[in-house]
């Protein structure tokens, strides 16, 4: 093949612009390797083209450069270190990312602080809430016991105000183991019910119990055993149809059939 003819056939331009078929390209490479003139001609066209096209610049978008180099930078970080240590002009490439990172850190820090503050507030509120629940239940149970007491006082008041009630005061006897003792029997003259109000009696031993007696025609009749409650207690005992006097003795637990005279604490006569 004539080299000059080959050079002027348009194959060079076609090859350089990438329009040759793979077979034509392979042939051209062989021809270039074999003929310096062809290489020179190719190089001449490449230079003409390059000079022409370099005069035809169009400015790509400004941000594209940093986009490209940040992507290249990321790829580079995933590569084995084959690069030189000269890494100039890093600042424009990472500038924006750095601002974003800094802003993220500031936001994160703010968020952490806010969360700590809110957590602290939450813990305080929980503690306050528990205190409130505890004191509320204390108030409620105190209220409950006051209600119960108030109920029993109201009950006692209505009994004492009943006009059919006969009041029998029983002061401590001089021979009593506790002369300062004091109790009162409220005896319903119609229903014959007996209520006892203990003002003061010493606390008995665990195996002892107080017992009320009605004295009928000089003989003691059992009117019931009772326990001492906290504070002044008002208890209903046995029904007694007839009595001249009432007395309290300390007996063995469960009561006795006859009173132990030396353990008589109080006594009072029925008047009127």
């Amino acid at each position: 093949m004539d080299v000059q003819e080959y050079i002027l056939s348009g194959i060079i331009e076609s090859y350089v612009l990438g329009l040759t078929s793979p077979e034509d390209s392979a042939e051209f490479d062989r021809m270039c390797a074999a003929h310096g003139e062809i290489r020179a001609a190719r190089n001449a066209f490449e230079l003409e083209l390059e000079e022409n096209l370099l005069r035809e610049k169009l400015e790509p978008p400004r941000e594209l450069k940093s986009r490209i180099f940040s992507e290249i930078g990321m790829e580079k970080n995933n590569q084995p270190p084959r690069i030189s240590l000269r890494t100039p002009a890093l600042v424009p490439r990472v500038g924006f990312a750095r601002y974003v990172a800094a802003a993220s850190l500031i936001l994160l820090g703010g968020s952490v602080l806010l969360n700590l503050y809110l957590l602290n507030q939450y813990k305080k509120s929980i503690a306050q809430y528990k205190d409130l629940v505890a004191s509320q239940s204390q108030v409620a149970s105190a209220n409950q016991s006051l209600q119960t007491k108030l109920g029993s006082y109201e009950n006692a008041m209505s009994l004492m105000n009943n006009p059919q009630m006969v009041k029998v005061m029983m002061p401590g006897l001089p021979t009593s183991p506790s002369p300062s003792s004091m109790a009162t029997v409220y005896w319903n003259s119609e229903s014959k019910d007996v209520y006892l109000l203990v003002t003061h009696l010493p606390k008995p031993l665990a195996d002892k119990q107080y017992q009320l007696w009605a004295i009928v025609d000089g003989k003691p009749v059992d009117a019931g055993i009772f326990d001492l409650d906290e504070g002044p207690s008002f208890v209903k005992l046995k029904t007694i149809p007839k009595a001249d006097a009432f007395a309290i003795t300390l007996e063995k637990k469960g009561g006795s059939t006859t009173p132990t005279m030396e353990a008589m604490y109080v006594m009072g006569k029925v008047t009127g």
Binding site: V16, C32, F45, L49, I83
Partner: protein
């Protein structure tokens, strides 16, 4: 020479192969405008051209090892990477869908010419108008649309040999314009 500044072509290639950052910045600063211009002439739309240019530079960075100076100049190599990437973009489904939408928009708003006229006055495109219409259409199909000679022979219903001869003649004329 197309190069100015601190590099001659051999130095530039050596630095690029050593993955020297400065060399890549130099490469971008000197060649991105010309390559962007070529890409834009093929894909027509600036935002698409930007995407292609990004891909091209990343490919240059990745493939610089495989560049062989025996086969041609660095610029020629980059020019062909740019053209191939642009033509790949033309054939992507995404681009074709966008193109359909664009055509509808252009039809509706009647701005088909307005959008692209400035491209006709740059680079290789401006030489195309000087060619005879039957040559111009072949260069258009071969260079800017990426059809092979075989495909063009089928599309145009002319013998393959004729396609090849006409294209080479057209390119020889083009070269006269370049001078």
């Amino acid at each position: 020479m197309g190069l100015t500044g601190s590099y001659n072509e051999q130095e530039l290639i050596a630095s690029l192969k050593a993955r020297d950052d400065q060399a890549f910045y130099f490469l971008y600063d000197h060649y991105s405008g010309s390559l962007y211009s070529i890409i834009l002439q093929i894909v027509k739309r600036p935002e698409t051209a930007s995407d292609v240019l990004q891909e091209v530079f990343i490919n240059i960075w990745r493939k610089i090892e495989s560049y062989d100076p025996v086969k041609g100049r660095l610029f020629t190599w980059m020019l062909n990477i740019s053209r191939n990437a642009s033509i790949d973009m033309l054939r992507s489904k995404n681009y074709q869908n966008n193109q359909k939408n664009q055509e509808i928009t252009d039809t509706v708003y009647g701005n088909d010419q307005v959008t692209h006229t400035h491209i006709d006055s740059i680079g290789l495109t401006k030489f195309l108008v000087k060619l005879r219409p039957e040559q111009r259409v072949l260069i258009e199909l071969a260079y800017f649309k990426g059809y092979t000679h075989d495909e063009i022979a089928q599309i145009k219903d002319i013998p393959l040999g004729t396609v090849k001869t006409r294209i080479r003649n057209a390119l020889l004329q083009l070269r006269e314009f370049l001078k």
